[in-house]
C-alpha cells in the first residue's frame, strides 16, 4: 500500500455530513409518519368502523403504510447512513462523491413517497413487506444502487487496509439488499411467476429482509458503537466472524411459515433454519456481555442504553422466532398476533433502537458538540423503550392466548377475535408512546441540523461582512 496520508477525522466528517443529513433526516420523517399510521391502524381494533367512510385510512391501507414506511422509509436509509459512516471512518477515507450519495438519498425518499401514495391509493402489490407498487420499487432500486456504488468506491479507496468486523457486515448488507429486492420485484411485479411460487419468493424476500438484512446492518453498528462507547476492544474478532457466517448461512433460509401451503420440505427447512438463528443471536449476546463487562461507562439513556436494549430485543425476537418454528408451538401461534409481535420486536426493538443509538453517537460529530439535546435523547429512550415492550409483549402473549382459544373449535371464532382486544388496547398505548418518542427523535435531529446550519450561516455572514477578508493576513 502506498503511503497515502490518512485522511483527517475532520475531512471524513465533512464528507459524510450532507449524505448523512439527507439519509437520517428523511428517515426520521418517515419513522414519525409511520408511527402515526401505526396508531391509526391500531385504533381500528378499538372501533372497527372508525374509518368506514375513508378508504385511505382503513386498516388494509394504514397497516401496509406503517410497515413500509418503517422498513423502507426508516430502516434502510438509516442503515445505509450508518453503513456509509462506518466505511468512511473505519477505512479512514473520505466518502466518495458525497453529492451523488445525497442525490441517491433524495431519490430514495422520493421512491418511498411514491410508494406511500401508491399504497394509500390502493395500488399495493399485495405481497407483505413488498407492497410498494412497481414505479416506487424501480426508484428505490436505482437509489440503492447509486448509494451502493459510491459506498463501494469509498471502501476500495480506504487507507486502513485491515478490516474491522463491522465492515464485513456492511459489505454483506450492500450485496444482500439489491439481490433480494431485484429478485422479488422482478419475479413478483415485472415478470410474475406462476401460482404459489409467488408466495415462496415473497416469503424468501421477507425472511432475508427482516432476519438477515436488518441484522447485518444493525450488528455492523452495534459492533462499532459498543467498543467506541465503552472504550474497550470488541470481544472478539472470532466471535464476530462466527456471528457473520452463521447469520448469513442460516438466516437466509428463514421466512417461510410453518403453515405455508407449500410442499413440506420448504416450511420444514425454513423452520430448522429459524431454530439455528439462536446460534448467531447467542454469539451476539456473548460479544456484548464480554465487551461491556468491566466498562465504567454509564448507560444513562444514551447510545449505550439504546444498543443494549436492542441486543436484548434481538435475542428475545430470535427466541420467539425459534420456538414458533417448532410444530407443537406453531400449531398454536400460526396466524395469530404472535408473529407480528416477534416482527415488531425485531424491527422496533432491535433495529430502530440500534439506529437511534448509532445516530445519537454520530450526529454530535457532524453538527458539532451541544447541538443534539441529551435530555430529549433520554426522553426519547424512556418513551420508545417501554413503548416497544408495551406494543410487542401484549401481541406475543395475546397471540398465544388467541391461538390456544383458536385450536379449541368449540369456541366461536368471534369470541377468539374478541379475546385479543385487551392485548390490543395495551399495544395501542405502546404504539402511542413510540409515536411520541419518534416525533421527539425527529425534532431533536432537525433541531441539531438547523442549529448546525445557523452556525454555518452565522460564520459565513460574519466572514462576508468582515472588514478584512478571511485568510488574508495583514
Amino acid at each position: 500500500m502506498t503511503a497515502i496520508p490518512p485522511t483527517s477525522q475532520q475531512q471524513i466528517d465533512n464528507s459524510c455530513r450532507l449524505p448523512l443529513f439527507a439519509l437520517f433526516g428523511g428517515a426520521a420523517v418517515w419513522l414519525a409518519l409511520s408511527s402515526v399510521f401505526g396508531v391509526f391502524a391500531s385504533l381500528t381494533f378499538h372501533k372497527p368502523s372508525m374509518f368506514a367512510d375513508c378508504a385511505m385510512l382503513s386498516y388494509g391501507r394504514a397497516f401496509p403504510a406503517w410497515a413500509n414506511l418503517l422498513v423502507y422509509g426508516f430502516c434502510l436509509p438509516a442503515g445505509l447512513g450508518v453503513g456509509l459512516w462506518l466505511l468512511a471512518r473505519l477505512g479512514r477515507v473520505e466518502l466518495a462523491k458525497p453529492w451523488l450519495i445525497v442525490v441517491g438519498a433524495k431519490l430514495w425518499h422520493a421512491g418511498v413517497l411514491v410508494g406511500l401514495i401508491g399504497i394509500l391509493a390502493g395500488q399495493s402489490t399485495g405481497f407483505e413487506w413488498l407492497e410498494m407498487p412497481r414505479p416506487a420499487a424501480v426508484i428505490l432500486f436505482l437509489a440503492f444502487m447509486l448509494i451502493t456504488v459510491w459506498a463501494y468506491v469509498t471502501y476500495t479507496r480506504r487507507t486502513e487496509a485491515s478490516l474491522y468486523p463491522s465492515q464485513w457486515f456492511v459489505l454483506a448488507a450492500l450485496l444482500w439488499f439489491p439481490w433480494i429486492f431485484s429478485t422479488a420485484t422482478l419475479l413478483l411485479q415485472i415478470l410474475p411467476v406462476r401460482g404459489v411460487v409467488q408466495a415462496s419468493v415473497a416469503w424468501w424476500f421477507a425472511g432475508n429482509l427482516l432476519n438477515v438484512w436488518l441484522t447485518l446492518a444493525g450488528l455492523a453498528s452495534t459492533f462499532y458503537v459498543l467498543p467506541k462507547l465503552t472504550g474497550r476492544p470488541l470481544q472478539s474478532y472470532y466471535l464476530a466472524l462466527f456471528v457473520f457466517w452463521t447469520l448469513i448461512l442460516f438466516g437466509t433460509w428463514t421466512g417461510i411459515p410453518a403453515a405455508a401451503a407449500l410442499p413440506a420440505w420448504m416450511p420444514t427447512l425454513s423452520g430448522a433454519a429459524s431454530v439455528m438463528m439462536l446460534i448467531p443471536a447467542l454469539a451476539v449476546v456473548a460479544i456484548v456481555i464480554l465487551t461491556v463487562r468491566g466498562s465504567q461507562t454509564p448507560c444513562g439513556g444514551g447510545p449505550l442504553c439504546f444498543t443494549k436494549f436492542a441486543v436484548g430485543s434481538l435475542m428475545l425476537a430470535t427466541v420467539l422466532l425459534a420456538i414458533s418454528a417448532c410444530p407443537q408451538v406453531s400449531r398454536v401461534t400460526d396466524y395469530t398476533w404472535f408473529g407480528h409481535g416477534q416482527t415488531v420486536l425485531r424491527i422496533y426493538g432491535f433495529f430502530t433502537m440500534t439506529m437511534f443509538g448509532a445516530i445519537y453517537h454520530i450526529m454530535p460529530q457532524l453538527v458539532g458538540p451541544g447541538r443534539v439535546c441529551p435530555r430529549w435523547m433520554r426522553i426519547n429512550f424512556w418513551l420508545v423503550m417501554p413503548g416497544i415492550l408495551l406494543l410487542a409483549l401484549p401481541l406475543v402473549f395475546g397471540g398465544i392466548a388467541q391461538g390456544l382459544k383458536f385450536i379449541d373449535a368449540t369456541i366461536p371464532f368471534v369470541d377468539v377475535s374478541k379475546s385479543t382486544l385487551m392485548a390490543f388496547r395495551i399495544s395501542t398505548l405502546g404504539e402511542f408512546f413510540i409515536a411520541v418518542g419518534n416525533l421527539i427523535f425527529l425534532f431533536n435531529l432537525l433541531a441539531a441540523m438547523v442549529g448546525y446550519y445557523r452556525s454555518v450561516g452565522k460564520t459565513a455572514f460574519a466572514e462576508a461582512t468582515a472588514l478584512q477578508p478571511v485568510g488574508v493576513k495583514p
Binding site: S8, Q9, S166, Q235, Y238, W265, A272
Partner: protein, 202 residues
C-alpha cells in the same frame, strides 16, 4: 468527540475500535452442532425429502398414497379408464376386444394378464412390431410408442385399468414399476419384437 488539534497543529486521529483475538467458546460450537443435528433429524422426519406432492401432515408419498380414496371405483382405475378411452380405445376398442387389422384384444389377453408386469410395461414405452400370438390367434401389426409421453403415474393407471377391466383380474401396476422400466429403456427407440419381449423377465 471530534478530533482535537494537538499542539503541533496536526490532527490527532480518534482511535477506531479494535477487536481482541478471543476464540469462539466451545459451548457455542457444541450448541450449534446439537441444533444442526436436531434440524437434520427434523427435516428427515417431516420434510418429505423435496417431494412436490408431500404436504404437512403427510411425511412421504407413500404416506399420502395410504389415504387415496377408492370409493366409487378405484381412483387409479378411473383415471386409467379416462386415459384409455382417450388414447387407446381407437384401436383396441372401448371394450378391449381389439379391432381386426388394427390391434389385438386386451380383454383376456395372456400378455395383459401375465403374473409379472415387466413385459407389459415395455410395450407402450417403445412400441411393438412383428407377429404376435394373442389368445391363440396370430396378429402381425405395428404399435407405436404410445406411452412414451405419459408421466409414470398415468401409464401405470392405464395399464392397471386394462388389467382389471372387461372381466380381467390382475394386480395393478405401480408408478415405481413404470419408472424402473423407463430408466432401463432410456434412449431406446427401436420397438420390441415379440420374440425379444419373451426373453425379458415376466
Amino acid at each position: 468527540m471530534n478530533a482535537e488539534p494537538s499542539q503541533s497543529g496536526r490532527v490527532v486521529l480518534e482511535t477506531e475500535p479494535t477487536a481482541t483475538g478471543l476464540t469462539v467458546p466451545m459451548w457455542l460450537i457444541a450448541a450449534m452442532l446439537v441444533l444442526l443435528f436436531l434440524g437434520a433429524w427434523y427435516f428427515d422426519a417431516r420434510g418429505g425429502w423435496f417431494e412436490a406432492k408431500v404436504y404437512e401432515p403427510y411425511h412421504s408419498v407413500a404416506d399420502v398414497a395410504r389415504f387415496q380414496p377408492r370409493s366409487g371405483g378405484d381412483a387409479v382405475l378411473l383415471r386409467g379408464k379416462v386415459l384409455y378411452e382417450q388414447n387407446c380405445a381407437l384401436c383396441h376398442n372401448p371394450d378391449g376386444m381389439g379391432k381386426l387389422a388394427q390391434a389385438p384384444p386386451l380383454a383376456g389377453s395372456e400378455w395383459v394378464l401375465a403374473a409379472g408386469v415387466n413385459r407389459l410395461i415395455r410395450i407402450p414405452q417403445v412400441g411393438l412390431a412383428g407377429p404376435i400370438e394373442v389368445k391363440g390367434q396370430l396378429w402381425n401389426l405395428n404399435m407405436a410408442a404410445m406411452g412414451v409421453m405419459y408421466p409414470d403415474e398415468d401409464l401405470a393407471a392405464v395399464l392397471s385399468y386394462i388389467r382389471n377391466a372387461w372381466g380381467n383380474k390382475a394386480s395393478v401396476v405401480t408408478a415405481e414399476q413404470v419408472k424402473k422400466v423407463r430408466t432401463e429403456l432410456a434412449g431406446r427407440s427401436q420397438p420390441y419384437a415379440p420374440d425379444e419381449l419373451k426373453k425379458e423377465a415376466e
